[in-house]
């Protein structure tokens, strides 16, 4: 595994799994702003539940490494880290925005799945699935 790839995986997981700091939001914290933005999902249980539902439909993706590879595919990296393909410098806020772009692309291209009657983008479901497996 190249150094960039492993960094990217680490960044992705950190963004997904870092505990949001809201429980402490009322406390003075020099990193309050950053902490609040940490974590793509503020409720990991909800994300995990949707992820699990997705994996039921796509059991072949029920593998953390596979999901990471899919989420960090070259096509996705062009959007996530357009400069050099390295997520390390991107920052959670930008990462979130980039994932929004990917999600919109999914809807445009019909890369979507139905979960309980709701149409969701495959990218957002893969992120949820990663939470479910982590």
């Amino acid at each position: 595994m190249t150094a960039v790839l492993s960094t990217n995986r680490r960044v992705l997981l950190t963004a997904l799994l870092a505990l949001p700091a809201l429980g402490h939001a009322s406390q003075a914290s020099p990193h309050k702003e950053r902490d609040q933005l940490t974590g793509l999902f503020s409720n990991r249980q909800s994300a995990a539940i949707l992820g699990q539902a997705y994996l039921q439909q796509q059991p072949e993706e029920a593998d953390r490494q596979k999901l990471e590879n899919l989420l960090l595919s070259p096509g996705n990296l062009q959007v996530l880290a357009p400069e050099d393909g390295n997520l390390d410098q991107v920052g959670t806020r930008n990462l979130k925005a980039a994932f929004q772009t990917l999600r919109r692309r999914d809807f445009d291209e019909g890369n979507v799945r139905q979960i309980g009657g709701c149409m969701l983008s495959v990218t957002e479901l893969r992120l949820c699935a990663l939470v479910a497996l982590s």
């Binding site: 809201l22 503020s42 249980q45 909800s46 919109r104 709701c118 149409m119």
Partner: protein, 531 residues
């Protein structure tokens, strides 16, 4: 000339006029009042009274086969003003695309475009006491102080609907004074037209036969005749006029009564989870106006309808549920276990909605409303909006009105309503669902959950709107239409049809504003013939 109680006229008497109009519902009223003050003598022949009359109403009974439908004497009214005495009053012009030939919709296409009806829509709105500018987005924006939602590439557009309220709601009563004071319009109440007599070739109508409930028979003669008796009664009267041709008047190509259409609604079908729990939906809520109510609704852009091959559909934000998302905080993976179990049996538990609300809000980055994170973390409030879907039905020759063996009190065959949908209608509902979900998702406005009955789209029970359309369709080709672009019967050159029975396709809007606009257009045509 005012009102005449036809029961008081002599048996065998003949009513003479320049134009005889059969039916004083919105269509007949609009035509008659358009001639008000003119030198043209109008006889407006109305089956009912200016109030409800049980015996007259009983004439509206009929049979229902096919898709279940409420009784036919419940879904229309026989009295001055017709069904506008119990209508919802919701009005809006049809869209430009509704008039076009759409190659993905069989039998679509009007003989003219929206621009032809525009000036008449203006007059129709006035007829209903609604100012024209009320349909404009800017006017609604100013009135409610809120803006419509913005969709990526304007794939979904917002339109403004009006609900006629107050005095204007019952259109018969609203225009009664005009009729009362008219010098050239005579309104004959309790005048039941039971037959249309033509020459031997059925190319000209020569007279109408009128019966009253006190057993008098009269005749009415005019240069021109307008049949404006409603979307079910118009074909019935033509089919009953079968002395010259057994199949009925105007029915040489077996089209009279066919292509019956309704608007299709499936309540509790679509649920919107907005990404932002604070999404402003004031534009879409009923707003009280001087003339009634006004509200916004959503519809697919022309481009989306064309590219996805959709029928025209609209979405109304109905019930809004706003509940703090508290239950989700339960510790452990209880819900997950439930979901997994349910998933294996193909059922999804209700709390999925709560999880969706959380995930969608996160992913669509409502973080600027960090309010929720600060005070309610980690759960967002659960807001869901019922989206009522109302779509057009695809013209279907097997969906029809025909004569029953049962007879009414005049010995005339009652009618049978055999309303039918096709697979194409359910396929369209699938496509509509797909598009509404996709467009909300890509616009970062939320996600739409479709709730299908067991068995899927085919088993959706369509909820009737009491809009009776298509049964004497308009087309310049007599093989494809009962009336031509001027609403004149192909077969008899002095008989015209007014009402939604002439609609070749029906768009997603309620029909009456278009009925009235077409009626004004027909009045202009008749005035043109005179000059």
């Amino acid at each position: 000339m005012a009102f005449v109680d036809t029961r008081t006229l002599g048996d065998g008497e003949v009513i003479e006029a320049d134009i005889c109009i059969i039916g004083a519902g919105p269509a007949g009223l609009a035509i008659a009042t358009a001639f008000e003050g003119d030198s043209t003598r109008i006889a407006l022949l109305e089956s009912g009274d200016n109030g409800f009359d049980d015996d007259t109403q009983a004439l509206a009974a009929g049979e229902v086969v096919g898709i279940p439908y409420p009784d036919l004497d419940v879904v229309r009214l026989r009295m001055l003003g017709g069904s506008s005495n119990h209508w919802g009053g919701n009005i809006r012009p049809m869209d430009a695309l509704d008039f076009e030939v759409r190659d993905w919709i069989p039998n679509s296409g009007w003989p003219f475009g929206l621009e032809e009806l525009q000036p008449y829509y203006k007059r129709a709105a006035e007829f209903c006491g609604v100012p024209n500018e009320a349909f404009e987005i800017a006017s609604q924006q100013a009135a409610v102080g809120a803006s419509p939602w913005s969709f990526a590439d304007d794939a979904i557009a917002t339109q403004v609907f009006q609900t006629v309220g107050g005095e204007a709601r019952a259109l018969g009563a609203y225009h009664e004074e005009t009729l009362e004071n008219s010098s050239n319009v005579t309104t004959y109440l309790f005048a039941n037209v039971v037959d249309i007599t033509t020459d031997d070739l059925s190319s000209q109508v020569s007279e109408l036969t009128i019966r009253t409930l006190n057993d008098k028979t009269l005749k009415a003669r005019a240069k021109h005749y307008v049949l404006a008796a409603g979307g079910i009664e118009n074909p019935r009267i033509l089919l009953l006029a079968n002395k010259t041709r057994a199949a009925g008047l105007g029915n040489e190509n077996d089209l009279v009564g066919r292509y019956f259409m309704e608007h299709l609604t499936s309540p509790d079908f679509a649920l919107l989870f907005p990404s932002d729990p604070q999404l402003d939906f004031r534009f879409y809520k009923d707003f009280e106006a001087d003339w009634g109510e006004t509200w916004g609704m959503l519809t697919f852009s022309e481009e989306v309808q064309r590219s996805a091959g959709l029928v025209n559909a609209r979405f109304q934000a109905a019930k809004i549920t706003n509940e703090f998302n508290k239950n989700i905080d339960e510790p452990g993976m209880q819900s997950l276990t439930k979901l997994v179990q349910a998933g294996s049996s193909g059922r999804v538990p209700d709390e999925l909605e709560r999880h969706l609300a959380n995930v969608i809000a996160d992913i669509d980055d409502v973080a600027q409303s960090g309010y929720y994170r600060l005070f309610h973390h980690p759960n967002y409030p659960l807001v869901s909006i019922d989206l009522v879907v109302i779509s057009e039905q695809i013209p279907n020759p097997d969906s029809r009105v025909y004569l029953s063996q049962e007879k009414d009190r005049f010995g005339q065959n009652r009618c049978v309503l055999d309303w039918r949908l096709t697979d194409l209608d359910s396929e369209n509902l699938t496509r509509i669902s797909d598009q509404i979900q996709r467009q909300f998702g890509r616009s970062e406005l939320g996600r739409v959950r479709i709730q299908l009955p067991e068995g899927g789209y085919k088993n959706i029970n369509p909820h009737p709107h009491y809009h009776h359309m298509g049964t004497t369709r308009m087309d310049n080709d007599p093989k494809r239409g009962v009336v031509d672009a001027n609403c004149r019967l192909h077969e008899a050159s002095n008989l015209y049809v007014a009402g939604s029975s002439v609609f070749p396709t029906v768009g997603n809007v309620n029909p009456t504003l278009t009925i009235i606009a077409l009626a004004y257009r027909l009045a202009d045509h008749l005035k043109g013939l005179k000059s």
